[in-house]
Symmetry: C2
Subunit: 264 residues, 2 copies
DNA sequence: CGAGAGTTTGATTGCACTCAAGATAGGTGG
DNA sequence: CCACCTATCTTGAGTGCAATCAAACTCTCG
């Protein structure tokens, strides 16, 4: 998972690196890969300038904790690159992932000072962090920002509700197919890998992380992925990369109504 | 469930009644029971006046569908009174509740024209409906409104995530205890029934609706409620009213960390 | 008092969990 | 370059919790 991460992580794995002040390409919003999908998507140049003044980049190594539940949160952030997970733990250690953060997703809640969930980098992750207090001030005076945040929050709520259906009512096999479909859809929206029906899903999640997403055990995840492979619905390229020869066949395994749009 | 509903429903069960124009007590926001918790909570008098111009009340009988997935939505609304459910259905009929609407909760999504979920009245329900288009216009010009809606959406997202943990990782017994705890907490926040530890939960949900909430079957719900009763954790007053002699004992059954605030 | 929805209880089944080895792969140091 | 080491993943056997199938019971309500 550190195939192409050399350029990204210059700091040690233990402490996030701060690139603030470096007149790097990455500090210019205009060249930002998530410019048109993140919370800042509808901001005007002058509004971006205000955001630039309170932002800084932080990188995290795969596996590194970004936040612990209960931590003081001095910032909110956009995910620029990589995948992070939001999870909750029961008294006896049972864990459930409650959020999957992909590039352009927003992390943190304005008005909340302490993190209610654990956040962990699943792959190499780069965040664009905004100091919380000034961000909240901007939010109050910048409709372009608050309207976009509302829209993103409502999208997340929809995603959470789809996820509830998966957790509450789907079989193990349907859960796996649903997860793969969801990630494939997100990757397509981000403009990646749409090669004539043959879709490659890069899922930097361990079997255990998938199990925590789906409310299963890692053994069941492994068995069901094996079964989908044996049935020709998916193929594996290593353990973390999944090739889907026919996305419609995969979607037929999710248990959903097939009324929705083909893929996106 | 129609014990005290005579004053509420003047319309037949099939078609919602519209009280618009009647200079009734209920049409005055100042006297509204959810005035300080709903989406309009932080609005100034002049802003309320603008809302009054686009609002109307609708009542629904217990069991009546409020919206079907795919329906055109001409309005968004606040729940004034009663309980409604938001649910999703799989191709073969499996159903999962993905939202529980209690008084002051908001229904609908600005910018969305068609309902993605089924919405059903679980008890007698009264909605305060705002025509969607003018509401969206107000939202764009009224920070008091949009900020409150953002806050409420983020609260709902938190609730959805707590719910995911319940669906994904809790046992049947823990699920029941969690549902009761959540409803008890909401009722306390609404200022009801805090009689010296002895809490009465009015849950106008059938066993089947609870099952749809928790990702269980109605038989399992019945059995686990029976088990909690047999263990003295709860008592029943009819089938829909639950008495909790010791809320801490109930919360101990949820599987959660007991770090959180006692009740609220 | 009968009808029907809703609820409870019982018997059995089955899917996913648990416990337990192995297999594979990525990374490290000799 | 290879052998090793640890993570991760796969596979197997047996169990258990909740689902399923089935029937009796209990409220309201007409």
């Amino acid at each position: 998972m550190s195939r192409d991460s050399a350029a990204l992580s210059r700091s040690g794995p233990a402490s996030p690196s701060l690139h603030r002040g470096a007149p790097d390409l990455r500090t210019q919003c205009a060249a930002c890969p998530i410019r048109h999908r993140a919370v800042c998507a509808s901001c005007e140049p002058d509004e971006l300038q205000q955001l630039e003044a309170i932002k800084s980049y932080r990188s995290y190594a795969a596996g590194q904790r970004i936040l612990w539940a209960g931590d003081e949160m001095g910032f909110v952030a956009s995910v620029v690159q990589g995948v992070a997970t939001i999870s909750q733990t029961l008294a006896d250690g049972r864990r459930q992932m409650v959020g999957l953060l992909l590039p352009s997703d927003f992390l943190g809640r304005p008005g909340r000072a302490t993190a209610p969930y654990d956040v962990t980098a699943a792959s190499e992750v780069m965040l664009c962090c905004f100091r919380r207090k000034p961000f909240e001030a901007l939010l109050a005076t910048t409709p372009h920002l608050s309207a976009r945040l509302l829209e993103m929050s409502l999208d997340e709520l929809d995603a959470a509700r789809e996820w509830m259906l998966i957790l509450g009512r789907k079989t193990a096999r349907e859960k796996i197919a649903s997860l793969l479909t969801i990630v494939a859809r997100r990757q397509m929206l981000a403009g990646l890998r749409a090669v004539r029906g043959r879709i490659v899903i890069d899922l930097p999640l361990t079997r255990e992380a998938m199990a925590d997403y789906l409310g299963l055990t890692l053994e069941t995840v492994s068995r069901q992925i094996g079964a989908l492979r044996a049935d020709g619905v998916i193929a594996l390229d290593g353990t973390r990369r999944i090739v889907v020869p026919d996305i419609r066949a995969l979607m037929a395994e999710t248990g959903d109504d097939m009324d929705g749009a083909p893929i996106a």
